[in-house]
Amino acid sequence: MTSLLEIHDLLVKADQTVILDLTELVVEKDEVLVVVGPNGAGKSTLLQVVAGLKKYSSGSVKFKDAPDLTDLAYRRKISTVYQSPLLLSGTVESNIGQGLKFRGIPEKEIRRRVEYWMEQLHISHLAKRRSGSLSGGEAQRVSLARAFCLETELILMDEPFSALDTPTQLELLRDLREIFSRTNQTCIYVTHDLEEGLAIGDRVAVLFKGHLHQLDSVSHVFSHPNTPEVAAFVGVENIIPGKVEKQLEDLVQVRANGSLFDVVSDLTPGKPVFICLRPEDITLYNIPEEVKPSSARNRLHCRVTQLINQGPLTRVLLEAGFNLTALVTRPSAKEMGLEVGKEVIAVFKSTAIHLIESSTELRN
């Protein structure tokens, strides 16, 4: 793979506050790199820097051979799609061709490309409509067509679907994924919605407070988050600080809040870690019943502290010397007679736990 964009030691400040501090970020050609993170993570700032629209304090951002990001010739090698379509007054087709007009492309070629991309985004029937009369989804399709028809080497998308209702969002996401798979278009796609990112990205960069926490394949970030912040962001609700105590055969034992956990890992004893456990990986048993022998190595005696019904599922908040969250189906919760104060056994496999090495030593 060849890299299209390389960022090294990038520092962006507003007044004296650091907004973005990236040691390295490389965007490969033909990939869709999803940049995720909560609000204020610096995602949009990163996009503005790459678009040549924001100055940075230090570091380097290199796009192939472009000498200067603010250079018009560079800016014309990329195109952007924002959360708000921001269409100009005029017809749909004139909007889509606008960027090509800026570039002085001949009218015939503009018409060819506009027609092609209207077809790809299923908006040919809207060609003569005025931009002000479009629905949110239609307007965003126009915005996508406007960016794709420039046929630039890199497209930047900043939360393109976050202002749309869920069905429209899913429909557009599906169409966009199909276009990406057909065109090998390189794209940096910024979103705060992890599921959207997982659906569309080849790799994911997870940002928190201006720092890159993890850059990996989508599935790897999901299964092996490398900081507690990333773990929480990808849906790991149980993040418990502990310390590797013993190394067994192919396993380690981790002590956390007085309990011992068996985990598949090769970390050496003494290492401070975070135990990451997804709520759906926990199985609950009633106490009077004997827990049948199984391959699951971890069992915790817990007390139910709260039950939260969420559609077909029930989120069970537990107390086991520390807080734990489990997810069970509503019929299971009913059959088990789960209620606040009830004592249960939480069981989970040693492979269900993912350990994150902690950079800070635990106090005790």
Binding site: S84, L88, Q98, G99, F102, L156
Partner: protein
């Protein structure tokens, strides 16, 4: 009441007879105010665009100054221009006092703050993210500005209408710097003042009808331009 009726009858006569003096006054009014409006737009549009789009330390001060200029009393402008153009004034050597050029200068000073101020507000009404979007589409700075003007064209034509309206109807400055000289600097408004002071209400009303008609025609043309889609 009789005065009004006489005035209207006289106006119709003057209009249809094509009185050379009336035609001359009308054409001069149109020419002077047209040129003043054009110069105001040439100054006000770029200046307003600069103040609307570029952020710098004293920007607020300059915008306030422009906004104050939008309400500048014509007689004050007349006074200042007179002082400058007076034979013994700093620009006296140019010998512009009591010439149509002096009226144009005064009218430009009256109307360019309007053109600039309304340009500022019309561009600031646009979504600020539109600029970023246009640059993201590969627009050069100049193409971006042209696109913003196009988006704000309704409000910009309103600025043009306001600028023209402020000068075609203005009398104080024209009187002071033009002198209302027959055959040279007499325009519709100064002629109306003169005819009224003489008690020639019929002529004054006739000239007023012409002035209103002229203002309507120009505004109608500009409004048509403004409301035209695409």
């Amino acid at each position: 009441m009789q005065n009004l009726i006489d005035g209207i009858v006289r106006a119709i006569q003057l209009l249809f007879q094509g009185d050379p003096e009336v035609v001359r006054i009308t054409l001069l009014s149109l020419k002077v105010s047209g040129v003043a409006t054009l110069i105001s737009i040439l100054i006000g549009l770029p200046l307003g665009t600069f103040l609307a789009l570029v952020k710098f330390r004293s920007r607020q001060f300059w915008i306030s100054l422009i906004n104050t200029g939008m309400a500048l009393p014509p007689v004050v402008v007349g006074l200042v221009v007179s002082i400058f153009l007076w034979r013994s004034g700093p620009l006296g050597a140019l010998k512009l006092i009591y010439t149509p050029a002096a009226i144009v200068i005064a009218q430009v000073l009256i109307s360019f703050p309007l053109a600039a101020g309304l340009t500022i507000s019309s561009l600031q009404q646009l979504d600020p993210r539109l600029r970023v979007q246009l640059l993201g589409l590969g627009a050069s700075k100049f193409q971006m500005i042209l696109s913003l003007w196009k988006e704000a064209r309704l409000a910009l034509v309103a600025a043009l209408i306001a600028a023209f309206g402020s000068v075609i109807s203005e009398v104080g400055a024209s009187m002071m710097v033009g002198g209302n000289l027959k055959g040279s600097t007499r325009v519709l408004t100064t002629a109306i003042v003169l005819e009224t002071s003489r008690g020639e209400f019929a002529s004054a009303i006739a000239l007023s009808i012409i002035l209103l008609g002229l203002a309507f025609l120009v505004n109608f043309a500009l409004t048509t331009l403004q409301q035209r889609r695409k």
